[in-house]
């Protein structure tokens, strides 16, 4: 089903939760809403579900204006971050409930619930009550209920956030496949850039109630349209610095400058903001096109096979992510290497400059 938001805004009292938004989700695709908490992900989902009405603008499903349509009539399903199941019903009845409401024949219900339970590995738990299940099984039940309905639009509001790491990985792998076969348009809200990358599909980056970019997940990641999108889609956060372009060189400071990459050679001279991700500034020169800077170590973290260092370079606080274990003393000065060909260049309105 095609899902479209047309000039949608949502105000609550004096606060604006959603600024004017135009967004057409990829039909039958896996769409991700990526943004921090309070960026408006949940509000957008609730607007599409019909749980809230937009202050202005319209919601269109399949070329039909559904803005005023009741929740019950929309044929959507939704799964929340908390594990929401009907506590007074068995797992079987929980999964069957949307079908019972539709007054489907008992035989068909049994067949469908059986299939979905099989798919979600819930068959041995069908006779249990939801509060007798583990967290992962409870969320599987909620997902099964969303799946069995064969809704045209499936809204998933951080469904994996309350699960432990292993279960999250397992379900994250299954989720896109589960819904791919149904042909449903899926909208998945998450706060984690890594999760968006792993899920693939399409991503809309959200910041403070504005959609800053929408496109293929990989495209949004590799070619952010503006600094905000790049910031939203980067974890640890993207590093920024003010530079001056003079001729074919970017000047960071009196001593640090480098050759502008060929694609940007023709942009006018002047001040720019560059952004580069933490794994593009390293403790070793791992690429040809690097420039060396010196900085003071503020904090270091070592996670397994990667070293994260927070470094003060001039007036800039940067995060560097390097492979391997590097023991750094806090307060020491270290050499760092920026991969200059991986830098994004943003103009004074923080839009990315291309040519």
């Amino acid at each position: 089903m095609s899902v479209e938001l047309r000039n949608v805004t949502k105000l609550s009292g004096l606060d604006t939760h959603i600024h004017e938004t135009n967004l057409k989700f990829e039909e039958g695709g896996f769409n991700i809403l990526l943004g921090t908490t309070l960026s408006g992900k949940t509000t957008l989902l609730r607007l599409m579900a019909g749980l809230e009405k937009p202050s202005q603008g319209e919601v269109w499903f399949n070329g039909q204006n559904v803005t005023g349509m009741a929740v019950q009539k929309r044929n959507v399903s939704m799964v929340y971050q908390q594990f929401i199941n009907y506590p007074n019903m068995t797992v079987y009845e929980n999964i069957a409930s949307p079908l019972r409401v539709l007054r489907m024949p008992a035989k068909i219900i049994k067949e469908k619930v059986g299939q979905v339970a099989d798919l979600m590995k819930l068959t041995p738990m069908l006779d249990r009550m939801p509060n007798e299940l583990s967290g992962g099984q409870q969320q599987r039940t909620a997902l099964a209920r969303a799946l069995v309905k064969q809704a045209d639009l499936v809204l998933l509001d951080e469904p994996l956030a309350n699960l432990d790491y292993k279960l999250r990985e397992e379900l994250r792998e299954e989720l896109p496949k589960l819904f791919a076969d149904t042909g449903a348009t899926v909208v998945y809200a998450t706060t984690e850039p890594v999760e968006a990358m792993l899920l693939g599909g399409y991503t809309a980056t959200l910041n403070e109630g504005r959609v800053t970019q929408y496109g293929h997940t990989a495209d949004v990641y590799h070619t952010p349209a503006n600094l905000v999108s790049a910031e939203v889609f980067s974890d640890p956060p993207i590093n920024t610095a003010r530079v001056e372009k003079k001729g074919d060189r970017f000047l960071l400071s009196d001593t640090v400058n480098w050759q502008v990459t060929p694609s940007l050679r023709h942009i006018p001279d002047g001040p720019y903001t560059i952004g580069f991700r933490p794994h593009h500034i390293n403790l070793n020169p791992i690429a040809d096109t690097t420039v060396k800077v010196e900085g003071r170590v503020l904090i270091t973290e070592i996670s397994g096979s990667e070293s994260v260092a927070h470094i003060k370079v001039g007036d800039n606080s940067w995060v560097s992510l390097s492979h391997g274990i590097h023991q750094l003393e806090v307060g020491n000065t270290v050499e760092l290497f920026i991969q200059t060909d991986r830098c994004f260049c943003f103009d004074h309105q923080l839009q990315r400059v291309t040519n």
Binding site: A49, L51, V71, Q72, R74, V76, S77, M78, Y80, Q82, I84, Y86, P87, N88, M89, S97, P98, V101, L102, A142, R145, K149
Partner: protein, 266 residues
């Protein structure tokens, strides 16, 4: 010292149970024995007092009257409080917190304050001396209490449950009856218990608003004591029987009451 750990609780329970024990033993004594002297247990064991109560309509009708208005009151209070508590727990509206508090203030006035207006009003509209009169009067105290208790239980249920049901296609009432009420069944049990208890022990309004046909058992007990001399054995039997329904109800809701305490209500 360690071996005397049982002493304090035993004494406590002993003192607590003593009046009840005394009431029960009295109910199996004759009035003469009660007045005649001190005896720890019945010397002439008799069930005549109970026989009188269960065979004499002027006695047992009191229980029937009490149970009737208590039941009506509990049903009215809880069924009115359910939608009210839902509104308080799920919606924000102008003055909701003030209204919620105002409901509770209804319980702050002593029932005596309302005895006269109720008496006058019910006499005027022909409700005087009916079980419904007492049930409605008690609703003034029980509806706020039930709203308050139920609101606590409902707020413990995430709003997302309601939304999930609506998204699944449930209409509001179907959701409310098939999913929501079973989910807060414990709270309904607790609310019913408190309505029952208040209505069962409340004497002043029940006595004022009835004369003959709907007279509650407590009123009959006080009258018997004054008219036919001291029928203490009979009175004790009536008292014992009055305790039983309360004990029953407590037994049934004991687990839910604990839940109510855990939720910070009750």
């Amino acid at each position: 010292m360690k071996s005397f750990k049982w002493l304090a609780p035993t004494l406590y329970i002993l003192f607590l149970m003593l009046p009840i024990y005394w009431l029960v033993t009295m109910s199996f004594k004759t009035t003469n024995e009660i007045l005649g002297g001190f005896s720890l247990w019945p010397q002439e064991f008799t069930i005549a007092n109970y026989v009188t109560i269960f065979t004499d309509p002027s006695w047992y009708i009191g229980y029937l009257n009490s149970i009737t208005y208590v039941t009506i009151n509990t049903i009215i209070s809880v069924s009115v409080a359910l939608p009210a508590a839902y509104a308080f727990s799920r919606y924000r509206f102008l003055g909701d917190k003030h209204l919620f508090f105002w409901l509770l203030t209804n319980r702050m006035a002593p029932p005596a304050v309302f005895a006269l207006p109720f008496f006058q009003l019910y006499s005027a509209v022909g409700l005087f001396d009916t079980p419904i009169a007492v049930a409605l009067a008690h609703a003034l105290f029980n509806v706020p209490l039930a709203v308050w208790i139920l609101e606590g239980f409902m707020s413990g249920v995430p709003k997302e449950l309601d939304e999930t049901a609506f998204i699944d296609g449930y209409s509001f009432w179907r959701f409310f009856i098939k999913i929501f009420i079973p989910t807060i069944a414990a709270g309904i049990g607790v609310a019913m218990f408190f309505c029952f208890m208040f209505s069962w022990v409340e004497l002043l309004l029940a006595k004022t608003l009835t004369s003959v046909d709907a007279k509650p058992i407590a009123a009959i007990m006080t009258k018997t004591a004054s008219t036919s001399g001291y029928e203490l054995g009979l009175l004790a039997a009536a008292g014992t029987l009055t305790i039983i329904p309360g004990a029953f109800v407590i037994w049934f809701v004991r687990h839910n009451i604990a839940k109510g305490f855990a939720l910070g209500r009750v």
